[in-house]
């Protein structure tokens, strides 16, 4: 194992880390911002929800499933025209952020839907009995009680999409996972690949650790 190679590759490794941060740093917040309301919508408009609208629920639910079922690589290619429309190019880091986000929104929405479903109906019932509006119930009860679980979902989504982002190489998106593939697989530079993989492991570990801590911090269900 030669450290010289790694030293030589430091600028690339640096660059790749920044690209990963950019991809995750844009895609995940957007997914949370748009996926949370979508998840709440899916929950409250489902049969038996706060405002059941079975027909439109079925349509939206099918759309969500459709996007979710696309393998990421296919989605990456399939939406190239849309990507170009949004960021003006179909290659590079910015171009990967678009499909990542498109994929992450329904992914996250389903998790949020699940998080809310698991709360049970008790507090919602009580709120309805208190004469709360749907908005009040969502803001004051659902989001409050689902917060730890939603933080858990953000963690899962982030970890999954760090891994997905490795496929960005297909459109020259870069990132640390792509670096591992390019140098390790195509150039047999095992050292670089190992460093890239170790960095990915560290990144995922840090994300998972902080996510778990934050979820526990906000969860008041167990007496402290």
């Amino acid at each position: 194992m030669s450290f010289d190679i790694i030293l030589d590759r430091l600028p690339e490794i640096n660059q790749a880390m920044l690209e990963t941060f950019a991809m995750i740093g844009v895609a995940i917040p957007l997914a949370v911002l748009l996926g949370t309301p979508l998840g709440i919508w899916l929950w409250s408009h489902a049969p038996g929800g706060l405002k059941p609208t079975p027909k439109s629920h079925a349509v939206v639910s099918a759309l969500v499933n459709m996007v979710r079922s696309f393998p990421f690589l296919i989605l990456l290619i399939a939406i190239i025209p849309f990507t170009r429309l949004i960021v003006g190019t179909s290659v590079g880091t910015a171009a990967v952020i678009v499909p990542l986000t498109i994929n992450a929104i329904p992914y996250f929405a389903r998790l949020v839907e699940q998080n809310i479903t698991q709360l049970g109906t008790g507090a919602v019932e009580a709120s309805r009995a208190m004469g709360a509006t749907r908005g009040q119930i969502i803001r004051n009860v659902l989001l409050v009680d689902a917060k730890p679980a939603i933080i858990g979902s953000i963690t899962i989504t982030t970890v999954s999409f760090i891994s997905y982002s490795a496929m960005s190489g297909l459109v020259g998106g870069g990132g640390i996972g792509d670096l591992a593939i390019r140098y390790g697989y195509y150039r047999y530079e095992t050292e670089t690949m190992i460093v890239a993989c170790v960095l990915m492991v560290i990144l995922v570990t840090v994300v998972q650790y902080s996510g778990t801590r934050a979820a526990r911090w906000t969860d008041k269900r167990v007496s402290a």
């Binding site: 507090a123 009995a129 004469g131 009680d145 008041k220 269900r221």
Partner: protein, 302 residues
């Protein structure tokens, strides 16, 4: 006066026959009284109770609370009416990630009390009624069952409602704690004149607390009588289910589907009895907080 006029509630159940949970029930509950609703599991008690605040909208009939026909209100009107009707549940239904004080504030927030300071003050006042003053910053998980139900009572009382609906409020509690919670309900009724409607499957709870009783079976109110009758020598309800409920035991488990088939036989196999004695609560509230049960439990909790 709460007035249920020929109320029915039917649930669609897929391909099968629809379930008639409440079947043509008429019931008048005088202001300031405590109305017990008793019956076995599945008799339709909860549905009938939820009909009163339209948590379950009846499929037929009218619901009146005071001068308002709730069944004739739009969504906004109904929400406003609900601020006057408190409700507590078997499972307490508190918000886990909010403190005790925040939980009680919630009902005021929903009722449109915008000023936070005012909300806090009124929430603290409501908690004082149920003697929770030193746990206001705790979370529900840090409370006992009885304390949780008292917080739920405070939450329901904070908006100063005229009616308090209670769905098996003590079924998750031990007999001792049950007595305390019932005592609070009795005190609230006498002190504030709030009409209390309490659903239970235990005649002991009715004996301890109620003015009037309605016995339910298969969605129907099969008989009504004054709770005072229960203390009268030789009193016998007219229905077999009524007689059974009044008898020494309380059914905790019943054989098979028999439960809802009518013609109930208390001697049948699978019917179990157990003695769950609940002390009568005092209905004169000259000095409610000096009540014996009360003092004992308070001593035990702290």
């Amino acid at each position: 006066m709460i007035s249920l006029r020929r109320v029915s509630t039917t649930f669609a159940s897929g391909a099968k026959e629809p379930i008639v949970a409440v079947d043509d029930v008429s019931l008048e509950i005088p202001d300031g009284s405590i109305q017990g609703i008793i019956g076995f599991s599945g008799a339709g008690k909860s549905t009938l109770l939820r009909n009163i605040n339209l948590l379950e909208r009846p499929t037929a009939g009218q619901v009146w609370v005071g001068d308002t026909e709730l069944t004739g209100l739009n969504a906004e009107g109904l929400r406003r009416a609900r601020h006057q009707i408190g409700m507590i549940f078997q499972g307490f239904n508190l918000v886990n990630n909010l403190t005790v004080l925040q939980n009680v504030e919630l009902s005021l927030k929903f009722a449109g009390v915008k000023d936070k300071t005012q909300r806090r003050r009124r929430a603290a006042e409501a908690l004082e009624i149920v003697d929770i003053t030193d746990k206001t910053k705790n979370y529900p998980a840090q409370l006992s069952g009885g304390q949780k139900q008292r917080v739920a009572i405070a939450r329901a009382l904070a908006t100063k409602p005229q009616v308090l609906l209670c769905d098996e409020p003590t079924s998750a509690l031990d007999p001792f704690t049950t007595a305390t919670v019932l005592q609070y309900l009795a005190d609230i009724n006498t002190e504030f004149g709030i009409t209390v409607v309490i659903v239970t499957h235990e005649m002991e709870v009715i004996k301890a607390l109620a003015d009037n009783v309605a016995v339910m079976e298969q969605g129907r109110v099969v008989e009504k009588f004054a709770a005072a009758e229960l203390c009268r020598e030789g009193f016998a309800p007219t229905t077999s289910i009524g007689r059974y409920l009044v008898s020494d035991g309380i059914s905790v488990r019943r054989a098979g589907a028999e439960a809802s088939q009518g013609g109930f036989d208390p001697t049948a196999e699978g019917v179990q009895h157990y003695d769950r004695h609940v002390d009568p609560v005092r209905r004169d509230s000259a000095a409610p907080r000096e009540n014996k049960i009360f003092a004992a439990v308070e001593g035990g909790l702290r």
